[in-house]
């Protein structure tokens, strides 16, 4: 059998992306959605191939390519994670295509790039989770960020999207500046960019730890921006709300997961500095409080999911504080499933009615399948047992209790209580009958509001897969736990 090595996966993804761009440019007559199906098929093949890659830990004395690229289990796992996310995002993009098309009234030109860009983002994410050298972290981070610049402002005729794009561009560029400056400080102190060698240099008592800490704080600022941690979260609600919804889903899952993997790797290098942990505790507490309290009064579902994304960053940071890679990874998997599920339903419903929570009124009666999918997504986000979200929270808080992080646990109790409120608000809109009276009035003007919302076969399949996976992981998490063992 032919052996596949890890870097070949990224190369395959990049080739796929370029091929799709080429086809898009030269074959103009086809339905652009064919490109999306090709992208899904290609990514699925790479995903299958990734199971044949043999992981091996990074060697200390490695040189050249292998000194900044690691193919350990963690990175292989998150490469698969990035691929799955991208596949679901492209499926959502197919559903979202009419909206994109309507923002380019003259032609179909936009759609080809719309389907091709996520593939480059995916390659960036896959490089990022393998990066063990600051230079490589920086380069792959830029690959991710630059493709997101375009994606976020893709439907640029819409002023809200344009605003989101501008905000994302400016703040993202600022965070890039921070990470470069931080890397420069760290390199200046230790003379190294490889994370493991930095860790070794920091153990040396002659190293200037204060300067290294300063560099690390700068890096932390940039990563805090990526994972939407307080106080670097200001961009999140506006950008999430303004960006095309599949891109929002991609931002909140893919970008965040990669950010956490890098954070875990970077913090491992700085584990000898005790201040690092205290700083993360502070950030986690702030993120939990801000994300949950700010989510309470939201009435727009997309914005609510933006704040919920901040809140979940808080839970994930608890796992980071405890250095529990397994808990963080499991939580990210659960977060992937439930967030994509919620966004997928949102995209379908929003095209018929709107993005406000009140637009979901009576959905339980209008389209029981979509309402059920949203119900599972929301309950899992709230952390109810027998869903993946519960096990995620369970492992996170298990690690927190084990390390006696009293402050984090106390804030966690409040956060969970808030979470129940704002997630059940959506459930309530879908199932409680009270406000349907206003709909019969609205129905008189636009008859299709009461009708069942059409769901394409592919989306139905994707939703079913997500629902089943969410419940399956909630009952039998062993399939993921075994994959995550000994990370």
């Amino acid at each position: 059998m032919m052996r596949i090595t890890a870097p070949e996966l990224e190369i395959a993804v990049l080739v796929l992306g370029m091929a799709i761009l080429m086809v898009e440019a030269f074959v103009t007559k086809i339905d652009k959605r064919t490109l999306a199906f090709a992208a899904i098929a290609g990514l699925a093949i790479v995903f299958l191939a990734s199971f044949f890659v043999a992981p091996f830990p990074p060697q200390n004395q490695a040189t050249g390519f292998w000194s900044f690229y690691s193919a350990d289990r963690l990175s292989i796992f998150f490469k698969q994670f990035a691929l799955v996310t991208t596949i679901f995002v492209v499926i959502m993009m197919i559903d979202y295509a009419p909206v994109v098309r309507s923002s380019f009234p003259t032609s179909q030109d936009g759609l080809g790039e719309f389907f091709a860009l996520p593939i480059f983002t995916c390659a960036g994410l896959m490089y990022l989770v393998s990066a063990i050298d600051f230079v490589f972290i920086f380069v792959s981070l830029e690959l991710v960020t630059i493709s997101f610049y375009v994606l976020v402002s893709f439907t640029r005729r819409n002023p809200v999207t344009l605003e989101a794009g501008a905000k994302y561009l400016v703040l993202s560029a600022l965070s890039t500046a921070f990470i470069v400056y931080g890397i420069a400080w760290i390199f200046g102190v230790t003379g190294q960019t490889n994370l493991q060698r930095i860790a070794e240099a920091l153990e040396n008592p002659s190293t200037d730890r204060g300067a290294a800490l300063l560099g690390m704080v700068f890096v932390l600022v940039a990563l805090g921006f990526k994972i939407a941690a307080v106080p670097f979260q200001i961009w999140v609600p506006d950008v999430y709300q303004g960006a095309p919804t599949p891109v929002t889903a991609y931002l909140s899952v893919g970008s965040k997961a990669a950010g956490f993997v890098v954070l875990l790797r970077v913090l491992q290098a700085f584990a000898t500095l005790p201040q690092a942990q205290r700083l993360i505790v502070l950030i986690a507490v702030l993120t939990l409080i801000y994300g949950n309290l700010a989510a309470l009064p939201q009435t727009n579902l997309k914005r609510l999911l933006a704040y919920s994304s901040i809140a979940h960053a808080g839970y994930l940071l608890i796992g980071v504080v405890c250095f529990d890679g397994q808990a963080v990874s499991f939580y990210l998997v659960a977060y992937l499933l439930m967030t994509l599920l919620s966004f997928a339903v949102l995209i379908i419903v929003a095209q018929q009615t709107g993005e406000e929570i009140s637009d979901f009124d009576g959905l339980g009666k209008r389209s029981p399948f979509l309402a059920f999918a949203m119900l599972i997504g929301m309950l899992s986000l709230a952390g109810l047992p027998f869903t993946a979200g519960f096990f995620g929270k369970f492992f996170i808080f298990y690690a927190a209790v084990l390390q006696r992080q009293i402050a984090l646990i106390a804030v966690g109790v409040i956060a969970v209580g808030c979470g129940f409120y704002y997630y059940l608000k959506v459930v309530r809109a879908m199932y409680w009958p009270a406000p349907t009276a206003s709909y019969s009035v609205a129905g008189g003007q636009s008859g299709d509001r009461i009708d069942t919302i059409p769901v394409s076969g592919l989306s139905r399949l994707a939703l079913s897969v997500l629902i089943i996976a969410t419940i399956w992981l909630g009952i039998y998490p062993r399939s993921i736990l075994d994959a995550l063992k000994n990370l």
Binding site: P385, F390, G417, P433, Y476, R478
Partner: protein, 492 residues
Amino acid sequence: MVLFVIFCPIAAAVLILVGAPARKTALAASALMFAAALFLFGSFGYGQRDFQHVTSFTISPDWRLSFTTGVDGLSLIMVLLATIITLAAVWFAGAIEKYENAFYACLLFISGGAIGAFVSIDLFFFYAFHELALIPTFFLIGIWGTGNRVAAAWKITIYLAIGSFILLLGLILLYQSVEPSSRSFDIRALQAAASMGQIGAEAQRHIYLLLLIGFGILVSLFPFHTWAPEAYASAPAPAAMLHAGVLKKFGVYGFLRLAIPLLPEGARHWSNLLMILLLGNIIYIGLVTIAQKRLDWMLGYSSVMHMGYIFLGIASAGILGVTGAAVLMFAHGLSIALLFALAGELRRRTGTLVFDELGGLSRLMPFAGLAFGFGVFAAIGLPGFANFAGEIMIFFGAFKHGWKMEGFHSFQIATVLALWGVVISTVYMLRAYRKTFMGTMPEQWKDLADLRPALRVPVTLLVGALLCYGFFPQSFVRMVVPTFRTYLTVNR
């Protein structure tokens, strides 16, 4: 058989959601559950301390997490209680105006969640099954409730979610307090570890406090009780029956199952705190109950108040008091379900439960009046009803406390104070009975009819169970005692 009792209601609920005829499926499922519970009751091996009918599926060997179910005496009487009340509640529900399928599915989910929690030997599923009942309660109160249903639904859901989460933290701490080599979610393994003294005194204090707050919120222990009266007043009658009768008992059951056997030192350390809180339940909530002007609120508060007696039995740390707590738990479930059922039926017919607008109804509804009288006297604790057996054991048990103490100790003072609770509950119960079923009848009710024969069946079932259990408590006591004897003698 145990698995059947758990999954029968859940499977039936799924079938109903898919489109099976709601009422027939629900009735058939609850009748089957009741039959299965009776079978378990009949085939129970007395005198055995271990769990029986044990089945186990491994979920994660690394975490020693497995889906293990089985019954001992304590869990069996809880299963029996749950199936009786499920049958009565489903029968009593009748035709529902809107979303009938969803209504019955929610009822069955609550029942399945409660039973699953009672028969789980694994702590993880013990917790998870209880949470399964949370969302159906939210729906039942929010969609089919009356009065201030929206606020009540939010209040109960968020309160219980936070309570459960604190409980989860306590359970995690309990799991971690054992040495890493013998960590397990299996209650039997934890008991073995506890009897070898692996759970340190300080850890016990922390865990006990978390469990006290967590379970306390779930059982509406003073001062965490404020969700209960409003939720029960707004809930549709079958939901109130199931929640007050069965699901709320999960907290007490958890206390009997975990706090007493595993954390004796924690119980000793916090006994004074618990005593003050339970007196708050009995005396303060008792007085609040007297002040109520509506029957549903009064019943809601009275169910909070009676939790105080059960906690008194638990706090007594002696075999007599703890057994009494188990007995009262069963009896209170039956009597409060009976009262909520009749109150719900009254509300359906008259549209009001304000005392001043009711009166003299027993002339028109002799059967309902008689049944309500049974419920009232059971709740007061008249001899002949199961509640009496439980309360008397609790009072004797608490007066002669499990630990050796000198002179006239604090628990005897608490017991004397708690005895006044009987007087308080007599006042409000008899007053409620007089104002609804006795006295002068307002003109507007003269066309009311008595309960239909179909509705008399579940009422008779509940009254029969109360009397049967009241006259022969011994058969239940014999089931429960071996469960407690193991550790209450070991820890002395």
